[in-house]
Symmetry: C2
Subunit: 185 residues, 2 copies
């Protein structure tokens, strides 16, 4: 980190605000590179995985679900929170099968990224799942989703209309377009 010491913010004090089931919130007082102090509001999240499942006939498997923070449903790629100590790949396999019933022959990491590094430490791992075979979906008892299978044109239209509207699914859409552009020259 020394190389970027001129950007570093040193913690002076840290105050715990909330310790919930999904998130913890704290406020740190930091010393800025210019010696002044500032507050940083920080949300801790244990991390999550998402899966971009592409069927053999070239469709994206997605789920529509209600998102309380937005007070609406949106269409997303399947995803779920990491359990403590859980490997991201195991979590991805589990979430894909639970939410959609699909089992993948091949899972490849597409990208791992922080969803909102300005205020949160949530790290999301996105996998591409191919070689899909359909079993039974077994959603958590308290999880309510509609499973969709979308062509690229349909997914683009849902992006235009604002029903695809979250970071991981936009990443998946652009990555999917990228694969199609490469494979069709």
């Amino acid at each position: 980190m020394n190389k970027y010491e001129h950007l570093h913010e040193k913690t002076i004090s840290s105050q715990s605000i909330y310790d919930g089931r999904i998130i913890k919130v704290k406020v740190d007082e930091v010393q800025l590179p210019n010696g002044k102090t500032a507050k940083r509001e920080i949300v801790h999240h244990q991390g999550a995985v998402a899966v971009m499942p592409i069927t053999d006939d070239g469709k994206l498997v997605a789920v529509r679900q209600f998102r309380k923070p937005l007070e609406r449903t949106i269409v997303e790629i399947p995803a779920g929170k990491l359990e403590p100590g859980e490997e991201p790949l195991s979590c991805a396999i589990r979430e894909l099968e639970e939410e959609t019933g699909y089992v993948a022959k091949k899972m490849e990491l597409l990208s791992s990224f922080y969803t909102s590094p300005g205020f949160a430490d949530e790290l999301l791992h996105v996998y591409v799942a191919t070689g899909l075979t359909k079993g039974e979906s077994r959603p958590d008892e308290d999880e309510f989703v509609d499973v969709l299978e979308l062509t690229l044109a349909e997914a683009r239209e849902l992006h235009r209309s604002g029903e695809i509207r979250d970071a991981k699914t936009v990443v998946a859409l652009f990555a999917w377009e990228n694969r199609m552009l490469r494979s069709h020259g």
Copy 2:
């Protein structure tokens, strides 16, 4: 919303936890579609913009900055929070110039997405900026960033090495690759 009533979560009660400068936190008790109840931990954020600036010689303008929630620096496209009532496009123009000194002839909306809809309502608008001319960067007094100009190969390498590691910049990277594939395809 009636069409998706079978997915809806009705608010039973709402408890304010924290009212900060950047985020507000609340916990809602909701009624699930099966009649059971659950808690939802929700972070409110006023929204933000990001800019994917491509120079005439085909480089991406990016910034390295320290992110307190991650306790490290990462390389990101320029971004900033919306002021209350501010138009996203005005904010994008302002943030680009403040952070990098660049002024764009053309700004096009690439995508608007929620960064982490499971627990937060932050909506991020990403613009592609082209026709760039360089002026003076005027960072906020308490903002410390290194400005970088990256070739696509350099940006891909930073993604592989984990220095590009946030949702908006990964979206920008895939969108940029798609532009290149389309224009050379």
